[in-house]
């Protein structure tokens, strides 16, 4: 059974290594600040005992005040999982670091989030619209579209 790691403990461990990067944590997920996302994620990928080498899914949700990105991480070796979140408070210019260099599986998913929600990812090699054509105006999945 894939063990969903107690996020509070992982958060405590991360806080010691990267002080000031955790925004909040509860038993289900860890919310990190978007500037330190990449550093934290690469630590989670390579740290012994954690070794999250499989990025199962990236989702983005539009809560009217902020965008929230949810990363479902899994470790194939230890068979445990973790939910990592980050928030982005700027609606006009939503920017989040891209995790493509760590997990290439993020490639198309981040393009989809850019296409449908308008969140840009810095460091993405090919950030273009993926489902809609390049001249499309607006980002359909946002709550204020239609």
């Amino acid at each position: 059974m894939t063990l969903a790691l107690a996020a509070k403990e992982v958060a405590a461990k991360l806080e010691t290594k990267f002080p000031g990067s955790i925004a909040e944590s509860n038993n289900n997920d860890i919310v990190v600040k978007s500037q330190s996302l990449f550093g934290l994620a690469s630590f989670l990928k390579t740290a012994p005992g954690l070794e999250f080498n499989y990025l199962a899914a990236i989702t983005a949700v539009d809560y009217y005040n902020y965008f929230e990105l949810v990363y479902q991480l899994t470790s194939l070796k230890h068979n445990h999982s973790l939910v990592l979140k980050t928030r982005c408070y700027d609606r006009e210019n939503a920017v989040v670091p891209s995790l493509v260099k760590l997990w290439r599986g993020a490639d198309y998913q981040e393009r989809e989030i850019y296409d449908l929600l308008g969140i840009s990812f810095t460091g993405h090699p090919n950030l273009k619209r993926i489902f809609l054509w390049s001249g499309f105006e607006g980002h359909p999945l946002r709550k204020d579209y239609l």
Partner: protein
């Protein structure tokens, strides 16, 4: 004196007798060899995730049918599992066993199409495709018995199934389970050692294990690359931990191994169905769930092993009758991440085969 050549760009698709759905690949060719490839998606984008925010939780179930329209039952199952996790609903045992039987039947049907279409791309001119459709017809007949539909079933409900199985289902299923191993042997006899198929598919389109994990591949693509990861064993849902089955893996990570993994998975599915039929209890098939379900505020992510791979749903609820956000983790889209690496260096004919061996459905890729 070297011959002056110049690469030219060829558009494979979107309307093409071979690509499985509307999918376009912009290939740059140098003679016959592909030197660059850019996949273009979006021809079947219908905005299912946005539509889901306007419908009740039960009303999203027919939308999920249309994701991977060749394996609708699995899509339904993934979605209702997520809603049940979100709202904390328990499912009666009979419903869970029936869900397992139906999901495994769907897996066999999905793999039959995948293998048939793959062999069709190899050029065997529909003969294996039609042979496999003969078996798929039997499965579709079984599904018609339970749900009244042949393609988009809309059968699962939050808290169980929409209706119980009719009387003639179990005898027909028994007959199918007894005949099917013979047919799978027949396919092995025809195609597994075919010289031309071996020459076309062995060593072609290799996806190394490290890359497969890095691109979050799942399903037969991941297992053919040698990774022993199956959600049914790693993170069991719906009573899969009560059944005894193996996970076939491949060693060479090429198209041939993906084909072999799918054939072997069909045999394992039959094993699971036999065990589930023996253990099937009686009882209700749906727990009592209000018509307009209003889950608590929160979120949930649940995933299953669909025929194409790891299909997951992420639902956010704000205590209203419609989901606040419904996101689909589409295995077909993510499996395509390495398409460029797998195809570069091969010829157009190989590109078609490699693409066919990944086994995607555009409904799921584009949503």
């Amino acid at each position: 004196m070297a011959l002056k050549t110049e690469p030219f760009v060829l558009n494979i698709g979107p309307v093409h007798p071979s690509t499985h759905g509307v999918f376009r690949m912009r290939a740059t060719l140098d003679g016959e060899v592909i030197v660059d490839l850019e996949p273009v998606f979006g021809y079947l984008h219908r905005g299912i995730e946005k539509l889901a925010e306007e419908r009740t939780y039960t009303g999203v179930i027919p939308l999920t049918d249309r994701l991977d329209y060749l394996a609708s039952m699995s899509n339904n199952l993934a979605y209702v599992l997520t809603v049940e996790k979100l709202a904390g609903i328990a499912v009666p045992e009979r419903a869970q066993y029936l869900r397992v039987i139906i999901a495994e039947l769907q897996r066999i049907a999905g793999h039959l199409i995948a293998v048939g279409a793959f062999l069709n791309d190899c050029g065997a001119f529909f003969t294996p495709f039609l042979y496999m459709f003969r078996e798929r017809e039997k499965i579709v007949d079984l599904f018609e018995m339970v749900s009244g539909q042949r393609l988009l079933y809309n059968y699962m409900r939050i808290g169980g199934l929409s209706q119980d199985i009719p009387e003639e289902f179990l005898p027909a299923l028994d007959k199918f389970v007894q005949q099917m191993p013979g047919f799978i042997d027949e396919y092995d006899r025809f195609f597994a050692q075919n010289e031309i198929l071996l020459a076309r598919a062995k060593g072609v389109g290799i996806l190394p294990q490290e890359m497969a994990i890095n691109i979050s591949a799942s399903g037969p693509v991941l297992r053919a690359s040698g990774v022993n990861w199956d959600i049914r064993k790693a993170d069991p849902y719906s009573l899969y931990d009560r059944f005894d089955f193996d996970i076939p893996t491949g060693t060479a990570s090429d198209c041939y191994d993906r084909y072999r993994v799918r054939i072997a998975e069909m045999r394992q599915s039959l094993r699971i169905i036999r065990q589930a039929m023996e253990q099937l209890p009686s009882g209700p098939v749906k727990s009592d769930v209000p018509r307009l379900l209003r889950p608590q505020v929160g979120e949930a992510y649940a995933h299953i092993e669909a025929p194409k791979g790891d299909l997951g749903f992420y639902l956010v609820s704000d205590n209203s009758i419609a989901p606040y956000r419904c996101h689909v983790r589409a295995p077909s889209l993510i499996n395509l991440t390495a398409l460029r690496e797998m195809i570069i260096g091969w010829k157009i004919q190989d590109a078609i085969i490699i693409f066919g061996s990944i086994d995607i459905t555009m409904g799921e890729v584009d949503r």
